[in-house]
Symmetry: D3
Subunit: 126 residues, 6 copies
Amino acid sequence: MENNNSYETGAEVMDQLFSKETQNYMQHIKEISPDFWDMIVSFGFGDLYGRTALTLVQREYITLTSLITQGAFDQLRVHFHASLKIGMSQQEIIEIIIQCAGYVGFPKAVHAMGIARDVFKSYEAV
Amino acid sequence: MENNNSYETGAEVMDQLFSKETQNYMQHIKEISPDFWDMIVSFGFGDLYGRTALTLVQREYITLTSLITQGAFDQLRVHFHASLKIGMSQQEIIEIIIQCAGYVGFPKAVHAMGIARDVFKSYEAV
Amino acid sequence: MENNNSYETGAEVMDQLFSKETQNYMQHIKEISPDFWDMIVSFGFGDLYGRTALTLVQREYITLTSLITQGAFDQLRVHFHASLKIGMSQQEIIEIIIQCAGYVGFPKAVHAMGIARDVFKSYEAV
Amino acid sequence: MENNNSYETGAEVMDQLFSKETQNYMQHIKEISPDFWDMIVSFGFGDLYGRTALTLVQREYITLTSLITQGAFDQLRVHFHASLKIGMSQQEIIEIIIQCAGYVGFPKAVHAMGIARDVFKSYEAV
Amino acid sequence: MENNNSYETGAEVMDQLFSKETQNYMQHIKEISPDFWDMIVSFGFGDLYGRTALTLVQREYITLTSLITQGAFDQLRVHFHASLKIGMSQQEIIEIIIQCAGYVGFPKAVHAMGIARDVFKSYEAV
Amino acid sequence: MENNNSYETGAEVMDQLFSKETQNYMQHIKEISPDFWDMIVSFGFGDLYGRTALTLVQREYITLTSLITQGAFDQLRVHFHASLKIGMSQQEIIEIIIQCAGYVGFPKAVHAMGIARDVFKSYEAV
């Protein structure tokens, strides 16, 4: 469906964002629906993230905020890891959550902060 | 954290973000609830936006994304103006909406894009 | 639980909450779907609001909060009128909105406050 | 609309949709609030699902989509089982999730797909 | 970005769903962001709606439900027209809204029913 | 509005609402972001809950409803405990959930009822 370049671009973006372990885990989607997997890689990471007008860091600002706002906390955990992997600081992530508190209310911000803490701890533990 | 300066900081941030017309319009909130107005200025713009760890542009990335995700389109219009006022480009705003399409779906992104178009047109018309 | 009295109870509750004008306006729902209208009256206002364990004022606390949280601002306007009709004060409504600011964020609270102001003004204008 | 038969109709619909195990599990709601249980059976499954203008399969299209859109993933799991029980195919469920990706964004669609995979696996394992 | 067939398929699907007037109106999106327009046509209507595993009517069940659930009422109006254009009956649309009442609550269902009534009236008026 | 006493007021409100165990657990937020903790205590519990125009019980009506409506079920559990601690009855909580069923749909209400049951059981178990 997607042309060859979208998929390749998407795969490269995913290499920048996600560890090998995370990418392996994501394969369960490919297993159940190869078409949906193709859309995620080609459209999601290729056609959207692959656009060069914004940096990956700028895109993660958008992603983290949208996930906090909609309460998609499983994906938020994955993208906290991604944000750190591309060079965002822990303080930057904390600031995004704090700004969100005013826009989505404290419950979702508190939930997000708890996940951030877990993610940050997981690096100290290594 | 809260201190006598929160209100002053908030008022300064609002001067950077909003035109005089917009600030005058916002006074209808002050009229009905001076306490709520105080919270908006002191907490919202003072204690949150006033934090120096992120730039105003970075904060508007968060604000625009959260407003699109929750479908708060009236406030989105105000913050499109604010984003342009602090130096963001039209293209940057368009990119944020496009990235949101993948995270919140096309309906809200299309709605946001229509508002962006109206806002951009309003400057050409001047 | 449901019985012949549900509709009657619902109609009585609606008389307490809504003016004749509002009730006439609501007839457009009956026009398009008599079954849906029946559900609204019998289930919504009869079986839910008609339960005596909470007062109508307590139920409006719940209703206003849920409408603000989900951004259902058209219905919010109707229920601001209903809240005043059953004896809640303007200050009580303002307090509910302020408490909501912390739970759903400022954008929806600000939107709600603007509608409250319009509703309150409409009584002064009479 | 509501009548003595609502509960009976609802109980019959629930027999078609849910296994005995699931129905037993649902009894925890009856335990804490017999009135709420009555509403679920009589209104939810009797008065809504029991309407003959749509088939149960058509109603599950609506149910699955609404649950994905609002991120109600616990109930989604139950209704994936229900959808299969009334004869929908795995492919049909996958297609609903894919269509949802465009309307609610990828995070909720990915979450739903992961649950679909778990549910489908649970049948293979038997 | 999208390959040639996705766009063509999408354009064909849009011809089936939307009147010329609606399609002309949609051009304001193309005007402000040709890339976003391309995504809507190629990905949204080509790659998603263009999948043959579900009929267009089945897809509109999903679309209407998702729009009601997320409160995207502007797009809902457009898709009520689309649903009628591809052969769905007014009664079918009313049934979808009624089923949604149990899943998303009455406020959004009532709002949707009001819009349905407007749309249905617009055909009588012709 | 904000003053040196906001933190003290907030701490007192938290003592009324939350057990020592819950307050200790909440310290994980303080650990990761002392500033965010300060906002929660000073603004959330001091400046919002500390306002005397509504009672704590009235504020919990708002809090529970907003949490159910937005599907913030982790925080809901904490506030079910808080509601009981300040003297609300189990029946009162059940009534709030039932009223919510009509406003946010059954899925979130059912989820909330299951959590209420767990919380109520935890007291019997003592």
